[in-house]
């Protein structure tokens, strides 16, 4: 006796269903509500007044910073779209199927740690940068708001191109051909055929990029040239670092930060949720073709464009001195412990994030339609909260149970996993919320068991998303530094994480060696990023006969 609704019914009465349904509010409370309240409580307890929060909220300097945060993020999104959308559309016209390597290359920048981004940026637009020396980067723009916007824009353009490309692929070919047959020009095609399909994808990707840029810290601080170019994140950092711990002020900034980063997101969410089309948003179908050839139909220009988007901005990282210093690093006794610890943190935090997202998706699916938007907003909240605040908050809230400063990586892993949830959720939700029911039924009608149905119908849909997003998270996780520097202290007897090796080398004048550690970190990140692909291959082979 089967129902035709998605497999999870909001009215399901079992205990398991009730537990799942209650998961998202519990999760939201634990990982966000409690930490924020912990900081608030600390603020009242010690600084005794809510005026501190209001003062920060109404401080004209802070409001200016909030305004700049917003502007800079919008500008970055605009630039990322300006580069990424035409590229994605152009590539999409030329490819019947998106090869895996294209996805990997275009995704690569998303996993880049900020440490590397500065170095890579300076190669192009530093004082001695390639573009500066060619006169293509004006001196007035060195270390200015422009530099920030350009770096953000270029960094994220590749992701925008990828999402555009994949969404373009999902537009049924017949529709495009029909339009072309009717004599539609490119712009008419874009307006009438592509726009409805791509619109939601662009809104969501734009939001994602916006949030990343609004929360940006190191890039803005260094490349922006100092105040008034700064984001709310800098304002928060300055309240929680050298001067006394200004919790009320930090809370005020966090509230503003939430408003800036999530405000537009929530509006979008409520508007577009009902119209989401999973096909346009999944990372594309991989149609297994008999052709073994990897050479896509996009030809050399396409290949060059892909490399230009995904790899060209980062060539500055591969410096000769850095490569040279890799030698001694590779012979250092600290090498393998460092790799193990960093890889371990990345793997565990990614797995924990995936677990949370899985539970959240189940929980959201069990909510009634009306409550789903709210539930999804909760899942997306961590992307709008400062790492420092969340870290402090978790510590204040939970340190009665444990000491995060003991030589204990568990909390770094927890914090990192929470921060990764919105990214994963965003990638998996469209797939989960619109399962291919018809195909599932067809498979069942043919006699397939639940597992066989999954393998034949759902796995091919999920595989690219799993490979892509888990790969990106793994790579980004190896470069994690914010959570580490805050929540973990010890003599790293188990191995010094790679990002800490970088900062240690830097603080001891060993700049070339620091770059060497950065290269190693990237190398480890790339290897980890390929791991989901390898495992997916194993799953593929395991199912076939």
């Amino acid at each position: 006796m089967e129902s035709r609704a998605p497999t999870l019914s909001p009215d399901g009465g079992t205990l398991t269903a009730a537990l799942f349904r209650g998961f998202y509010p519990v999760w939201g409370t634990l990982v966000l509500g409690v930490p924020l309240l912990g900081i608030l409580r600390e603020a009242f307890r010690t600084q005794g007044t809510s005026r501190g929060v209001l003062d920060a909220l109404l401080d004209p300097a802070i409001l200016t910073v909030a305004g700049f945060t917003l502007l800079q993020a919008l500008g970055s999104v605009a630039l990322a779209f300006l580069i990424g959308v035409p590229s994605g559309l152009w590539l999409g016209r030329r490819m019947a199927v998106v090869p895996g390597w294209v996805i990997s290359v275009l995704q690569f920048p998303m996993g880049m740690p900020s440490l590397a981004a500065i170095s890579a940026a300076l190669f192009w637009i530093g004082r001695n940068g390639a573009l500066t020396q060619l006169g293509l980067w004006p001196e007035a723009w060195l270390y200015s708001a422009w530099a920030v916007v350009v770096v953000h824009g270029v960094w994220n353009a590749s992701w925008v191109a990828l999402r555009t490309l994949v969404a373009r692929q999902a537009v049924p070919r017949e529709r495009v051909e029909a339009a072309r047959g009717l004599g539609a020009s490119h712009s008419q095609m874009l307006g009438h055929v592509l726009w409805p399909e791509l619109r939601n994808e662009w809104l969501w990707t734009g939001l994602q990029v916006f949030q990343l840029c609004a929360m940006s810290f190191v890039v803005v601080q260094v490349l922006g040239g100092g105040p008034p170019v700064e984001t709310l994140e800098t304002a928060i950092y300055s309240r929680l670092r050298l001067a006394e711990l200004d919790f009320p002020g930090a809370i005020g900034c966090v509230l503003l930060q939430l408003a800036v980063t999530l405000g537009p997101g929530l509006l979008l969410l409520f508007k577009t949720l009902r119209e989401e089309d999973a096909r346009a948003q999944s990372l594309g179908r991989v149609v297994r073709s008999g052709r073994r050839s990897d050479m896509p139909e996009m030809g050399l220009p396409g290949v060059l464009l892909v490399f230009a988007l995904g790899l060209l901005p980062w060539v500055g990282l591969v410096r000769w001195e850095a490569l040279q210093s890799l030698g001694p690093i590779l012979q250092s006794p600290e090498l393998w412990p460092s790799i193990r610890v960093s890889a371990g943190i990345a793997l565990l935090s990614t797995l924990l994030a995936a677990l949370q997202v899985f539970l959240l998706i189940r929980s959201v699916l069990l909510q009634k339609e009306r409550e789903r938007s709210f539930a999804i907003s909760v899942a997306l909240l961590p992307s709008g909260v400062s790492t420092l605040v969340l870290g402090f908050g978790l510590w204040l809230a939970f340190e009665f149970a444990f000491d995060p400063f003991a030589d204990n990586l568990a909390w770094v892993i927890v914090l990192q996993s929470v921060l990764a949830v919105p990214f994963l959720f965003r990638a998996f939700w469209p797939l989960a919320s619109r399962p291919e029911l018809r195909l599932q039924e067809a498979a069942r009608a043919l006699g397939a068991s639940r597992y066989q149905v999954f393998r034949a119908v759902e796995w091919p849909r999920w595989k690219p998303a799993i490979q892509g997003t888990l790969g990106t998270l793994l790579m980004a996780g190896t470069g994690e530094v914010a959570a580490l520097s805050l929540l973990s202290g010890g003599d790293w007897t188990g191995g010094v994480p790679l990002s800490v090796q970088v900062s240690r080398a830097l603080s001891q004048y060993q700049f070339a060696q620091a770059q060497g550690w950065v290269l190693l970190l990237l190398g480890v990140g790339v290897v980890l990023a390929l791991l989901p692909r390898v495992l997916a291959g194993v799953v593929d082979r395991g199912g076939g006969r």
Binding site: L122, G226, E334, F405, A406, G489, R504, Q508
Partner: protein, 368 residues
């Protein structure tokens, strides 16, 4: 790994879930180590007494000062040192404050704060003065007014601009000089909100310019290339040639002399430390005993502080931490001896609450 397991047993006698997760994290990486670690738990619990020192990360690192200093102490004290490393000095202070509020102080010695951070540290430490303070340099002994309050200096650095002479530029001779057009976008400074040298520069301007300091900052806002988030960011950019002047310490010159930039008549060195004619700020780093220690813990902590200013420890400072020792009569390597010295040293101090106020004022000055 072994130390990690043992210390978990000490600070967390009950293996709660998260500790287990932490072990699991490591064990999933190396199962053998877990077995070894667990086997070691009982013996370590009965082993030598432990002294927990809270310090910043680069000092704690094996290739830094800590790599030589701590083993040296462990040899003499017959104890184990456990280092609790924070990201930087500010984080140390934050953790100390938060721990103190809960009455659960983890460490016995705080190491690596300076005079500007002292107001945050002071309420939580004991006004202990170790034996041997008479052997300190007189400028330090008299200049660091917090010594009677428990501030034990262990090294100091004289701030200076380091100049890359590959780019022709006359060195700045004073703060006012920096306003000159020839320095436009040629300076690399640090953000005082996130960097101690940066904070030092800010307080230096305040000290020298009195009430005019906010205007000074507005005036020089066109002069810096950027305000880096920390010393390492700034210096890294300096090395890459982004700007010819960076705010650092005179000892940076010593580093360069010993690493690829020797000075000779035939081939003059590229990097030089520049001090102002009249005065330069100095940063004194110190250590202190946490309040409320008793018995064996206290004895060990006191012993460590005395060790810090002993000749053996002080001799490690120059090439271990790239700072200057605070003790008289410590033989300096030649490249340290030839570092420029300002006519006058300025100690940068702040009262409780002053940091916050000054930074807020600074922010306002720059927003205009």
């Amino acid at each position: 790994m072994d130390g990690g397991c043992g210390n978990e047993a000490e600070s967390n006698p009950h293996m709660n879930f998260f500790t287990y997760l932490g072990i699991l994290a490591r064990s999933s990486i190396s199962p053998v180590l877990v077995a070894a670690g667990l086997a070691l738990v009982p013996p370590l619990a009965l082993a030598k007494p432990v002294l927990v020192i809270s310090t910043y990360d680069s000092l704690a690192s094996k290739s830094g000062l800590g790599g030589k200093l701590f083993p040296l102490f462990e040899k003499t004290c017959n104890c184990t040192l456990k280092i609790s490393a924070a990201g930087d000095a500010g984080t140390i202070a934050s953790r100390l404050e938060l721990e103190a509020r809960r009455g659960k102080l983890r460490s016995q010695v705080i190491l690596g704060f300076d005079e500007l951070l002292w107001p945050r540290i002071k309420p939580h430490v004991d006004p202990f003065q170790p034996k041997g303070l008479e052997a300190l340099l007189p400028e330090i002994r008299s200049g660091v007014t917090a010594i009677p309050e428990g501030f034990v200096p262990f090294d100091h650095g004289i701030h200076a601009f380091i100049q890359d002479t590959q780019l022709p530029l006359a060195a700045p001779r004073s703060l006012a000089d920096l306003k000159d057009a020839r320095f436009a976008k040629k300076l690399l400074l640090q953000d005082p909100r996130t960097s101690t040298p940066g904070l030092g520069f800010l307080f230096f301007t305040r000290e020298r310019l009195g009430r005019d300091w906010p205007r000074y900052w507005s005036d020089i806002s066109g002069q810096w290339l950027t305000l880096a988030s920390g010393w390492d960011q700034a210096y890294g950019m300096f090395i890459k040639g982004e700007a010819p002047l960076v705010w650092s310490y005179t000892t940076s010159q010593a580093y360069h002399r010993l690493h690829g930039d020797p000075d000779s008549k035939a081939r003059p060195a590229r990097y030089h430390a520049r001090v102002f004619e009249d005065a330069m700020p100095i940063q004194v780093e110190g250590a202190a005993l946490v309040r409320g220690l008793q018995g064996e813990e206290r004895r060990l902590a006191e012993q460590f502080l005395e060790f810090l200013i002993s000749p053996e420890a002080q001799a490690l400072i120059p090439e271990g931490n790239w700072m200057l020792p605070v003790r008289k009569g410590v033989a300096l390597p030649p490249v340290f001896a030839e570092l420029p010295k300002p006519r006058k040293w300025i100690h940068l101090r702040a009262d409780a609450g002053e940091l916050k106020e000054v930074l807020a004022q600074w922010n306002r000055a720059l927003q205009r």
